[in-house]
Point group: C2
Chain length 186, copies 2
């Protein structure tokens, strides 16, 4: 209908295209998984020609690394904010509950990205560095309110609750999550 034998498409002035591409990559990963993420799919999602990918990124691995780095950063920022706002231990416990049920479990998009990152990191050293930096940052945020041992344990519980929520057809309610967090930290 619209295209047919489309001629050369008009060149677009598009600074920050690289950033847009990273965003498109995250969308594709969320939709199709790392396994289903290709140069062509990302390009289509961002509405740019294939060649634009190879111009802006040296390899597909580089795209993935940048995309996951951005994802981890954005989740970590929320983590920091939630816990930074807490003024005492009770508020911190509440912050963790809210973090899990509202932020982490709230968006199926982010949920899937996180799990995809986990498995990709298991095999890619660059991505493993990303997850480790992220874990360290989370723990540091938790240690503003809890001792090191406790921080580590809560971190593991959070991880489990998230994963459980991502996979179960019958995910836990906010109340159940709050109950679990309180129970560990009581």
């Amino acid at each position: 209908m619209s295209g047919g034998t489309a001629g050369r498409r008009p060149r677009r002035h598009d600074p920050e295209r690289r950033e847009r591409l990273i965003g498109a990559a995250l969308a594709v990963i969320a939709d199709h998984g790392v396994a289903g993420t290709t140069h062509r799919r990302i390009a289509r999602a961002a509405d740019v020609p294939l060649g634009s990918m190879t111009y802006h990124f040296a390899s597909l691995e580089e795209v993935l690394a940048e995309a996951f780095t951005r994802h981890a950063d954005s989740v970590a920022r929320v983590f920091d904010e939630r816990l930074g706002a807490a003024r005492n231990r009770a508020e911190a416990v509440e912050a963790v509950s809210a973090l899990v049920s509202e932020d982490l479990l709230g968006s199926q998009h982010d949920l899937v990205l996180t799990v995809e990152l986990y498995v990709a990191a298991a095999r890619n050293p660059a991505l493993r560095a990303v997850t480790q930096a992220w874990m360290a940052r989370s723990r540091r945020a938790l240690e503003r309110h809890f001792d090191a041992t406790t921080a580590r344990e809560v971190d593991a519980l959070i991880e489990g609750l998230v994963l459980h929520g991502a996979l179960s057809t019958d995910p836990m309610t906010s109340e159940q999550i709050r109950h679990a967090v309180h129970r560990l930290l009581r």
Copy 2:
């Protein structure tokens, strides 16, 4: 050296080849991830010709489904045994600790397989059924000793401890794991 222009290789009588292929598939998944799992790689790992794959399985998806089903079964069996042997709540708590630090975190092979299953399940309904049956079975085993709410919470904690252990360069010790489990179940 050995092959050159190898002629037709002698046909082998090999009942249970199908089962062997499933085992080979698990090895390949552990080594290369689901993304890096191909008919050819599995065939090479099991030392059978490519055509044998398409004879025994209708599709690669079918191979994955059968492989993960076997994996989940074998992990669930250990789960059942550990908790079945516990005679009271204290022993059950100890069983969970041992389960995590010895069985679940013991083998890098199984660990990787589990994470790979998680992400594959996020996108493949057949595999999602596998994980859900597995989750249900775990919870049932836990409910032999704990009420439903507690069972669910422990299940999540286990999941988190395992994932944490799979990704961290600095995994928790058996003592730390025991401490975390006791803390939730105290």
